[in-house]
Symmetry: C4
Subunit: 270 residues, 4 copies
């Protein structure tokens, strides 16, 4: 019995999730992803960056090397190598390691924004988590069922936002911060969604009255998408319960439970 | 085969949506509407207006001329010309081109607000999109069904807002920004709808306590319209599923349950 | 035929809502209530009060006299006079006229807050509208059914608010505006209900992290009351549809539609 | 008949809730808990603390002594003493009295934050209320049923928050207050949950556009958890109605439909 597992055993550990070794592998990748994301987040904090720049840089390279090993391991074990490279997960796995390597070549240039953006591209690693998400089915089904209704809803909202934005731009004008239709539309969305930053607020009595009307409208509108998803989920749940029914030839009843052996009305064997 | 289509062919292209030519026509009108709206929005941005005033002016005239052609085309092809002119779509099509022509005569006057309002009236073009909205039926039905309940709900809200506004006006007074019952009611709506700009906030302990009570109330109230629309949509959906019905030839009843063997009204075997 | 109606005819006009005269009476009272509320609201606006003080004062006395006439009319026409005086509507009708009369005696005193409060007590007139509200039944039934769950919910919220308020008071302290547990609890309610004024916001990293957790919690909690009312309304609606069912003695089926004459399964006459 | 009740009678009063004496005991404990919480809250108010420090200190000791008596009473009356001490309620009862005693030893030290935290630990008394909460069952069941969906939902939210936070950090930068990914994520949560403090707001046009997109997304997302809980509650309610079941003596099945004439499993007549 060798310490180094065979290639097929390794493939099982990497791609399956059904025994102890493969579950441990999954767990360690998960921990690595979350830890590397934490380092990206903490690294962006100016006070921490100043103190622990060296440590973060070292950790970043450790994570990158480990993810690089994971990438080539998956590539080597994969039967259809090109298929993996161009799959969603393959792209994410690659994008998760490239930025660190590229930063080697760009560190001395003056394109600071590009570098910062590049370094932050590392958060794409969160999509590596998608591998561990199952059970999204009912939710996805309900969302897809209500897609056309949601499109219609977003269309309605955007119409309301455009009209409202234009009217408030005329009523309030640049003095109150409504400097253009675009900004007014931003204000309308902030108000309709009940976020309400307060960075732009109506100052004139007419503007305040109109805002109040829009808020009440938004309050009524918020009921619609909730109702849509809610009724879709209820429907999906109901359907998944009404599976198949049995039929009784004697009393012609057709809605008998699937697990019936005898008709519950006339006692006939099914 | 002539390059210029016949009048009946043109009418088909303009009014129907079932072959390639008519679908292309729809698409181009859609693109024109959205592009012209974008120009109105960008034109209102001071920094862009300064730089590209000439270009926006030119584009605006191109859109107006194209929409004018569309208007007269629809008028010419329509069987009931007066019917079109005074229909909802006829009015919208007219309002979408008038402002630009009127601005020719008003550009040198001093009624700046009127001109600005007039020029922005062009956003009415968004209603031209209504022609392309179908599928709003379930949604509309649910909203109409819950109309009386929503009226009642808005009535309740306005009562709460008036009482709250008055009480907060007495408790907080003008020092905290609650300068009149009107302003207090504006604050009450901002709070109840959970928008919460923060332009007016309670400063006294009693005012803060009352605000907290109102917020919790609003939190409870928001459940009501959502629940109404939600249950209406569930009901509408449930009804629309019980479609496959059986028909009785003897008594001409058509809404018999799908699992019926005999007509429940006349006893006829189906 | 006299111009002055008999007492019984007057009682019909005042208390019933079924013919033209009584409907007109209702309409005029409604208009009077809304107009008098508008005067109270506008009167509180400092700029308007300065200009139109005389006119508002005159209008207020006209409304008060008309409501006084209505009060004594209802009292005279009522069979159980004491019953009317101490009923909800009798109290509201009286409270709607008293403030104006009392202001005669208090106008020269120094209790300005008392006077202002007294004058604003006139908004109690809004409850006179309650007479014209019907159809609140389904809504009321759903709310009463979910009463215990809503109590539980408010209890949970208040517990979360007390704990959160205390923790944030310790973490942030008076420097960030969290000057006492009371103020911290006010902040917690403003945050949990997603109102978010922004008058008090966390400044320390730990405070921001805790706030984010509380917001996500509030986001999850908001689903609960909505779900409660929603499912109650669905249940109330479903019950009102599942009336009584018929039973077939031949095939022993019991869930036949109420309007069946024959069993839909075996054709037996019911 | 002695004035001092027997030990078994005392145990009944303390642990049961079914006669007058035990209900009175419950009521008094409830009042004590709420009163002691009120003192903690008021005591933290600087202006009140200055004036009534002596009174609050006295009251605090009275509450602590009474809760101490309650603790030892419960301990003495309990059959399984260690079980009580380490139970949830036992821990809470102990934590409710310890801080006051500890403050005796710490009052002169310099660990002010520790003392403040310790004194505020007294709000843990709110959990003593848990004893009086029943009826949470339907709610708890619905929440547990939708647990996996809610986990998935929180996971999705956190992914959106991380991506959004990083993008806004790149787009807006430290000049607009987005000083780190952590702060940007705090802003993203404040925005997605529609709290909208307004302490950090986008200043650039691109940032405003992105914020608007995120708000509309949040508006759509809020529909999901509401829909989940809503449909779960509807399902739980529907199930709890289908209770009256028939029982088959032959095969010992107890969940037969109420309208069964014959057992659907063994065909036995019921």
């Amino acid at each position: 019995m060798s310490l180094i597992p065979s290639k097929s055993r390794l493939a099982h550990i990497v791609f399956e999730h059904d025994d102890k070794a493969s579950k441990n592998f999954d767990l360690w990748v998960l921990v690595l992803i979350l830890a590397s994301l934490l380092v990206v987040i903490l690294d962006s904090e100016p006070s921490l960056n100043e103190k622990y720049h060296q440590e973060f840089y070292l950790l970043e390279w450790i994570f990158t090397l480990l993810f690089t090993i994971e990438y080539f391991l998956r590539l080597w074990l994969s039967n259809r190598k090109l298929g993996y490279v161009f799959s969603f997960y393959g792209m994410v796995d690659l994008l998760a390691i490239i930025p660190t390597y590229l930063s080697l070549f760009l560190i001395n240039t003056q394109f600071l924004v590009v570098i910062r953006g590049l370094r932050l591209l590392r958060v794409v690693r969160i999509f590596k988590l998608a591998r561990y998400m199952r059970e999204a089915d009912t939710l996805k089904k309900a969302l897809i069922n209500s897609r056309t209704k949601i499109q219609l809803f977003v269309g309605t909202i955007l119409t309301v936002v455009l009209i409202t934005g234009t009217v408030m731009f005329i009523v309030e004008g640049p003095e109150s911060g409504f400097t253009s239709i675009g900004v007014s539309m931003y204000w309308a969305i902030v108000t309709l969604t009940t976020v309400g930053y307060g960075d732009i607020t109506p100052l004139t009595p007419i503007g305040k009255f109109l805002s109040a009307v829009i808020m009440l409208l938004g309050y009524a509108i918020i009921a619609v998408p909730t109702g849509i998803v809610s009724s879709e989920l209820t429907a999906v749940k109901r359907e998944s319960k009404q599976i198949t029914k049995k039929f009784c030839k004697t009393c012609k009843t057709s809605n008998l439970d699937e697990d019936s052996n005898y008709c519950k009305y006339c006692g006939e064997q099914l």
